[in-house]
Amino acid sequence: MISRAETEVYSKLFHIAKDNMESAGREMAPAEESFLITVGIAPDTADLLRLHDLDKRAYVQAAYAALLRRFPEDRARTVWESKERMSDEKYRRFLLTTLVRSGEYTGKGIQLYNNYYPGIPGVSYLRKIYSKMPTKVKKLIKKILR
């Protein structure tokens, strides 16, 4: 757990870099809170409760950082921005489900922790259900996902 004093140091460092970025005429894409969420993060778990306070844009960045250990690329950011009209909970559920289902997440070996959105089952659970489905349904799912 990172103390308040430690968080302040990371925050100040973020602002120094941000000022330098702006002096160079560029914008610092991820928000400060998205960065601070990742500070002190356990190497093997993604604690979703830590992300709870964030607004939609910061949530996207923080969820990527927590689950995939990277920030969203421009294209992904645009996609998520286009869905911002969804209700807060629906939006978060959709985002988390998408990330958890990705091969990139599976390969990271990171466990979801404090997931307060039941109904976002993890990859293994989905696979288990999927493997029991009839071939026809499997094909249909594949078609939809495509």
């Binding site: 460092l13 409760l49 950082a65 089952p121 293994s124």
Partner: protein, 798 residues
């Protein structure tokens, strides 16, 4: 021997050799020549929270190309950060910022174990010039640098100008200065016969067949290749000068890539090579008319060194770090001014004698070798010396703080019988109790009293238990009544059998006993005590000073060196008023200041905790030599019911029976804990997540998230970890009950109050003791402002 641990995960995880990995390989090779026994090489495990130790010999063979199989380099040993010995050094040399074990998480863990931290910093470009970095690199680097600037014991920079920039950052951040050293990067240069052209591709030889400007390095915005293309298009082409880029295309250069690809003289007067071997790069350097390095910022500027050591003139940006490396051997220009570059080129082309004079001067250039780099690094690491101190052997005194003559009366006979080396007991007590204390014992040991009044000398006595105890103990340290070395104890810490002096002090060190990590201490479930708050203050004190974080209030006698205690008090004026833990502050201070002096060992106390439900045991006592006496344990229903609470001759036999009982109970707790861990792991495999026990309290409403199932031992209990989101600091009380099919309670737990600041707590949940094993419906209740919220799950009680 002070070991040096280096994380080489990147070296083994990637198959290509980047600039930094070349440095890592070269430095480790040289360090292995000098300090082979002290080096330990680490690679992150797939579980991401620990390290695999490498077989150093096989690793060296691997990086020298003598062992092709990576998998062979592992020694088979795994080490957790907290297992690295206090006083040893963890040294980051590689580009570790992109690794999953972020330094913001790892360094506090290491520091908490008393490990010293050192880092080699190549540059701070992501901070000073973030526009040139990919967002992930930028944020990973912020994490890495932020952690090291707070925790490092030593910084080593690749250049003085980089160290200056780091020091400026430290000042801006308001942090304490860190001892800093400079060790330039070495060079791989070796004489090769120029006639051997067999490894040089024809197109490289053709490109180099006329006068050319060479730029080596990955093509990325920071390297400013654009300036050279502008200069080429503007003037160099007209003067018959060729331009050669050698380096792969990097990040964020789409526009420049198009310009290169579409350039009308590409392959004629302008060339771009990628993936060249060392021989080709060497060939291009040797035949260049000029090496250009128009970069906006660098950590070192290796191409400058590589060109100069081959006697080739260099035109590079006017930047402090490049001027530091290139000195007067290079010529400089403004990286934003292509015309200045053109002017300098035209000057040399028009003045061949000046050009030759530069070449002549460059012959005096002496590159830094990897041997020198490694030597300077080792010198810097050697400044982290562990202070030496000889433990005092004259242990004859016990010092006890007490206001309970009756407790002392019952405890001292145990000390008298089982600790024969104790000749004197000093009792620190309230003035009014002096007489009672003196009357409570009449044995072989001398009894001396030291009153609160004598210690306080007019200062007020704090009301809080922890604050009072700490102040009195600190004041007692200054009293001449105390020996230079003594056993500090309490009026209810009893030896269970014969105790040797060597339990406290050996010829080489003092032995200190811990039972927890104080930075993980959550307090006694459901009711925070003065002790808990003292622990939290102590944690903050230790972390603020970057001391280790073991929890030494193990409720057993421990040895104190008065000189060292006073040294700590002198170093932190006013700390005696802060209500800290008298054990944890001292032992962590000593472990930090004199790592070789202290042997930190798991505690040996019976009766700590008093009840298995009080907290999760982090350390299990393997041996029980002392008892923390709780009267309640001897009452009917208590674990020691029927045993004697007072000393009699031959009580050792009974004490052994108590230890056996406690061990059996401890083992049962351990099994229950292991069962719960097994459930968590099984759940994670089945559901892809750890079981969620989450309470969110928002806008007066409580939201409870629970897993569908939980495993609880039928006759035992588990401590279920809950996460709490409670930004409005609502009053929360949590309880549980088992219900039957009609929803009638068949067993109820004991409600606990959640501290308003708590983000995590543990709820002890008992199984359906006395019932048949099977499935039960378990209800978790949360009470908040007269409202009750409930959630149900299936409990498998087996």
């Amino acid at each position: 021997m002070q070991r040096i641990y280096i994380d080489v995960t990147n070296v083994l995880q990637t198959d290509y050799v980047t600039g930094i990995q070349r440095v890592v390989r070269s430095v480790i090779r040289e360090m292995m020549e000098r300090i082979p026994d002290r080096l330990e090489l680490l690679v992150l495990t797939p579980q991401l929270n620990s390290f695999r130790l490498l077989d150093k010999k096989l690793f060296m063979e691997y990086i020298q190309g003598e062992c092709a199989e990576k998998q062979r380099v592992y020694s088979g040993k795994v080490i957790f950060p907290s297992e690295i010995r206090a006083g040893d050094i963890f040294f980051d040399l590689d580009s570790v910022w992109n690794l999953p074990y972020k330094r913001s998480a790892l360094l506090p863990e290491l520091k908490g174990a008393g490990v010293r931290l050192a880092v080699y910093i190549y540059d701070v470009i992501p901070i000073t010039n973030p526009q040139f970095c990919h967002v992930d690199t930028l944020f990973n680097f912020l994490d890495y640098l932020g952690a090291y600037l707070q925790y490092a014991d030593v910084l080593i920079a690749s250049a003085q100008s980089t160290l200056d920039e780091i020091n400026k950052l430290i000042e801006k951040l308001g942090l304490n200065p860190i001892p800093g050293y400079v060790s330039w990067l070495g060079s791989d240069f070796r004489e090769t016969p120029e006639e051997d052209l067999t490894n040089i591709p024809q197109e490289v030889r053709e490109a180099a067949s006329d006068k050319y400007v060479l730029c080596i390095g990955t093509i990325e915005p920071r390297k400013n290749h654009k300036l050279l293309l502008d200069a080429f298009d503007r003037a160099l082409f007209a003067k018959g000068i060729r331009l050669i880029f050698a380096g792969k295309l990097g990040w964020n250069v789409e526009e420049l890539e198009k310009r290169i690809r579409d350039h009308k003289y590409l392959g004629k007067q302008f060339f771009h090579f990628t993936g060249l071997g060392d021989d080709s790069v060497d060939y291009l350097y040797r035949h260049a008319y000029m090496v250009a390095f128009p970069t906006y910022n660098e950590g070192f500027g290796l191409p400058i060194v590589e060109a100069l050591e081959r006697g080739v003139p260099v035109l590079t940006s006017r930047k402090p770090v490049l001027q530091e490396i290139g000195k007067d051997y290079c010529d400089y220009f403004d990286p934003d001014d292509p015309q200045e570059f053109v002017d300098r080129m035209e000057y040399y082309l028009g003045h061949p004698e000046a050009y030759e004079k530069v070449r002549e001067h460059i012959r005096e250039f002496q590159p830094f070798t990897w041997k020198e780099t490694a030597e300077r690094i080792v010198e810097a690491l050697n400044t982290i010396t562990n202070r030496q101190y000889t433990p005092k052997q004259e242990l004859r005194q016990m010092v006890i703080l007490s206001a309970r003559p009756e407790a002392l009366r019952d405890t001292l006979p145990f000390v008298d019988a089982f600790m024969p080396f104790i000749e004197e007991v000093v009792i620190c007590c309230p003035d009014s109790m002096t007489g009672a204390m003196e009357q409570c014992y009449h044995g072989r040991m001398k009894l001396t009293t030291l009153t609160d009044g004598q210690l306080l000398n007019g200062r007020p006595l704090p009301k809080d238990h922890e604050q009072r105890n700490f102040l009195l103990r600190c004041l007692a340290m200054r009293s001449d009544a105390l020996d230079d070395v003594f056993v500090m104890s309490d009026d209810d810490y009893r030896p269970l059998g014969a105790i040797a002096k060597s339990q406290f002090v050996t010829e080489r060190n003092y032995r200190a006993y811990y039972f927890y990590r104080i930075d993980r201490w959550k307090g006694t479930t459901g009711s925070m005590t003065s002790y808990d708050h003292g622990m939290f203050r102590t944690r903050d004190f230790l972390k603020a000073h970057h001391y280790p974080c073991k929890q030494y209030s193990s409720h057993m006698p421990q040895v104190i060196d008065r000189q060292l205690y006073c040294e700590m008090l002198d170093k932190h004026p006013g700390m005696e008023e802060q209500g800290l833990c008298e054990w944890s502050t001292y032992f962590n201070y000593v472990q930090y200041s004199y790592p070789d002096l202290l042997s930190a060992e798991p505690y040996v106390t019976l009766g700590w905790p008093g009840s298995g439900t009080d907290w999760s045991m982090e350390v299990q006592p393997q041996n029980m030599l002392f008892e923390n006496y709780y009267e309640s344990l001897y009452e009917p229903g208590g674990i020691f019911e029927g045993f004697s609470g007072t000393y009699y001759e031959g009580i050792e036999v009974e004490n052994q029976q108590k230890v056996a009982k406690a061990r059996a109970e401890q083992r049962r707790y351990q099994i229950w804990q292991e069962q719960f861990e097994h459930y968590r792991k099984k759940y994670a495999v089945e559901h892809g997540e750890l079981p969620p026990f989450v309470i969110r309290c928002e806008k007066g409403q409580v939201y409870l998230t629970l897993p569908r199932t939980v495993d609880i031992p039928l006759d035992g209990f588990v401590r279920v970890p809950f996460a709490v989101y409670n930004p409005e600091s609502a009053d929360l009380r949590v309880n549980y009950r088992y219900v039957d099919e009609m929803e009638h309670a068949i067993m109820e737990g004991t409600a606990i109050t959640v501290d308003k600041t708590d983000q995590n707590f543990e709820l002890p949940i008992f199984g359906m003791r006395g019932s048949r094993s099977g499935k039960y419906k378990l209800i978790i209740e949360v009470r908040c402002a007269d409202q009750q919220y409930e959630g149900g799950l299936t409990a498998f009680c087996v």
